[in-house]
Point group: C2
Chain length 243, copies 2
DNA sequence: AAGTGGTCTAGACCACTAT
DNA sequence: TAGTGGTCTAGACCACTTC
């Protein structure tokens, strides 16, 4: 039942992903590209596109002249750094069923650093939403989002506090998120943040300081996030790349 | 002067990268794919392959129906996390000309954690090489590599202490590095590490705990690295990805 | 020698954006 | 409506691994 939309490539990719998850390829060997193409009724190019994406995600690896294989180590990677879009998904990928608690919500004058990165005049108001992501009442992630108030179309957004930020922006502004530029910053948890995360003062932690841009490369949100390292650890695959 | 090897795709990619760096596309607009293909004398597929890689690297972005554009924000990203292969390159990309100092070098029995991840019996010897990467006598990165002694073919490797680890492995073992699986771990710099990096005790820092695998997915090296956050900060682009 | 993945072509049609 | 990027095809040849 192969149709367009989702694209053939996406369907092939999903098909292979499922078969990998179900351990269908017992010796870890994935059939040759030509065979996959014939079986699935698509061109080899389409199969190769799907395989390339799976390879980039670390799910498989390819050896020229030899074959394509399941990457057992890659399966450990639950949250690929570059693919994080909402923290709900991150926690779900880790096997949690997260809940969200809004800690604060309100408009305040932008601090200088935020005004700078969001292209605002000093003191222009931003809507600040602080959220805590928990699993079984155990806090895992704290996020602080700052959205220029002028971008928000309606004032009736209070009920949507707990929706993921990218969704919130789609609903209440005209600026859909296209990508984040993130900095990884090591810190020691302190004060309110440590309290909220239920971690001892001074615990080393990762934080993300990131700017979300829309399709026109204009900043729409600044986010700062803090993570409980003992509950959520980031992994990635690093490869040699060509110049 | 377009030839094979490096591949056409790589040549097209390099060509575009150079022209982006030289600011040839003044309005940030990259010519249409069909035009690039005609100008460079390659097929549109080849051009698209090159553009796709540049897009993944954050150098450009594409808008269906509209065009392909230089990503000004992506140009800030000097060290893409997934592309780190040697720290020499990382520092060079940051505009430094790094020097390397070997702090220690010698075989010791593997600690339990290292033995575990390297598939060794407890107490089997590993060659430990500690290196410090500096810029103007200012330490930036400290790495500790552990290589099973049994993998090393010759005993005459002392002069090669300062070569990058991936090169060291190529020369002195039969196991070339294929990829790393990395964990990002927040820590507080302490004791010897803080001393070596010239940072105050307790400074928050990022560390990488990683395992290097060869082409057969067998572990060949365990590396732990520590970074001076004030001198080297990691950035990445995050995008929404399809299932 | 046979079989695998890697590169490349030429062309078709679709989806979306601009005007 | 014209022009752009997105998807897909069918086929060719190359580079490498395996036997």
């Amino acid at each position: 039942m192969i149709t367009r939309n989702p694209s053939l490539t996406d369907q092939v990719k999903a098909n292979l992903k499922r078969r990998i998850a179900e351990d269908e390829f017992e010796d870890g060997r994935i059939p040759p590209e030509t065979e996959l193409a014939a079986d699935l009724g698509v061109s080899r190019t389409t199969v190769r596109d799907a395989l390339t994406r799976l390879e980039n995600e670390g799910a498989i690896y390819r050896r020229q002249g030899s074959g394509t294989f399941v990457n057992e180590h890659g399966l450990q990677i639950k949250s690929r750094l570059e693919e994080i879009w909402s923290y709900e998904d991150v926690l779900e990928d880790h096997g949690y069923t997260p809940s969200v608690r809004v800690l604060s919500h309100g408009a305040v004058p932008a601090d200088p650093a935020t005004a700078e990165v969001l292209d605002l005049d000093a003191g222009e108001p931003v809507l600040v939403i602080e959220k805590l992501f928990l699993e079984d009442d155990e806090p895992v992630i704290l996020t602080r989002n700052r959205i220029p108030t002028q971008l928000i179309n309606d004032l009736d957004h209070r009920g949507d506090d707990t929706t993921p930020i990218y969704e919130f922006l789609e609903i209440h502004t005209d600026r859909a998120l296209a990508y984040y530029l993130s900095e990884i910053v090591p810190i020691a948890l302190d004060g309110e943040v440590a309290d909220a995360l239920g971690a001892p003062e001074g615990t080393p932690a990762i934080s993300f300081d990131e700017i979300g841009y829309d399709q026109n490369n204009e900043p729409v949100v600044r986010a700062t996030s803090y993570f409980r390292d003992d509950l959520l650890r980031f992994r990635l695959i690093r490869r040699k790349t060509r110049p």
